[in-house]
Symmetry: D2
Subunit: 143 residues, 4 copies
């Protein structure tokens, strides 16, 4: 199993606390300082009109990957809110297995800028989406 | 019931053809030339860590509302692909009932620009999200 | 002259303090609580390869219009930083006179979300660009 | 001099054909298949209220860097239009010398997705801005 248990576990706990991530079948594969890697599959209930993965699925998972990347660089007890994100869709998500690779591009005390690439892993490794996201850090002391 | 049956039914058919919209409980309320109105509820399986609606839910529904707004202005037989979208989140989605109001801002033969506002309807009417989206029109003759 | 002198003058002072707005010939026409209206012209030195207004010109002016819309709702002494913006270009800017209409969509103590429409005024009134922008408020007490 | 004369010269010709790039002092340093590198300086006439480079300057140059990155992968005779772009500003542009590094992330016959990082080069090398842009390819045969 790829997950490194010595690292910050807030990303795993965070995904587990979001019922929507369970609905989407998102599984945290790896997390580190400022990065989160998540896998998910195309399956019934997650598709658009052609049977491909709906753009909203990869976007939602990328949003959470960005958010927990940011959280991994925030003080203990902090919370993260999404201010905004933007996704570009590079090709239809016709594959079966996907991976979202989120990372913090610019850490900060109140604002963190994150990026996430979503890759199709099976049957062919190729990038299907990019996201840029801005996260707001709610600090425990009320920042 | 609010739905006007005299109008273009492609939006309703379109939502019905996207299994993810059923997963999210999205219900088309009204459609017209260049606009689609959709309602959805916060419920188990769609939430983030505080029990609010996950940002990905309103984004996914807004994406479909934009896409079918565009389709309603496209030639018969055309298909619509999302090139990109951007969402700003104005406040946490703590309410129970929500409405996405998509519309075409700039129609075009190949590119349409759409906007969608997502409003919390209950318990309090207030806007929670805005989206700008760019749609690519696949024409029946292969444009 | 359209400018209402009874309103908050920080937008006018702000535009005057940005040398780039003078380079672009941006002129504040009107300002109010949460909104700024600015005019500018296509002229030599501001064009792209076809002689149309460069997309960067309307974007820069829309950014300032959003920023000063936000400032007009911020405490006295506050400063505004652009976190991010997104522009969609609806048609080539082939006209001569343009107007940027910025407004605050969601005020806030630290984050404000703004929108700006850019219209071609002459020879034909039509929208050429939309922007959504996120502004960070630096408060005098260091917020 | 860094510029490789054996490569596609359309980017250099393109920048030279945009009067706004001369106004901004943008200088093409290097171009290749799907990438363009451009330098520019902070100077009088390009600043915001604190004397830093206006966000619109780096955005305009990044837009052109993205556009000519796309053009370098398009058929001879094609033209490129910006559909949309989104910029995140990572820190104030307080430096003196900057570099925009544009590249095509996803080539395509009609749509190309590009990214551009803008770096401060002097006095300190650090990224100040990211852009994601969508370009529309106008083909010579009218595509």
């Amino acid at each position: 199993m790829a997950f490194d248990e010595t690292l910050d576990t807030r990303a795993i706990d965070g995904f587990a606390s979001q019922s929507f991530m369970a609905t989407l079948g998102a599984e945290v594969m790896e997390t580190g300082k400022g990065r989160v890697r998540v896998r998910f599959r195309r399956r019934d209930g997650l598709t658009q009109q052609h049977g491909y993965l709906h753009a909203g699925v990869s976007t939602a998972i990328a949003d959470s990957a960005c958010g927990y990347s940011a959280l991994s660089m925030a003080p203990q007890g902090a919370d993260v809110l999404t201010i905004e994100f933007k996704s570009n869709f590079l090709r239809p998500a016709s594959g079966d297995l996907f991976e979202a690779r989120g990372r913090v591009v610019k850490p900060g005390a109140q604002i963190m800028v994150c990026e996430c690439e979503v890759w199709e892993i099976e049957p062919k490794e190729r990038m299907i989406m990019t996201m840029t996201a801005t996260m707001f850090i709610m600090n425990p002391e009320g920042g």
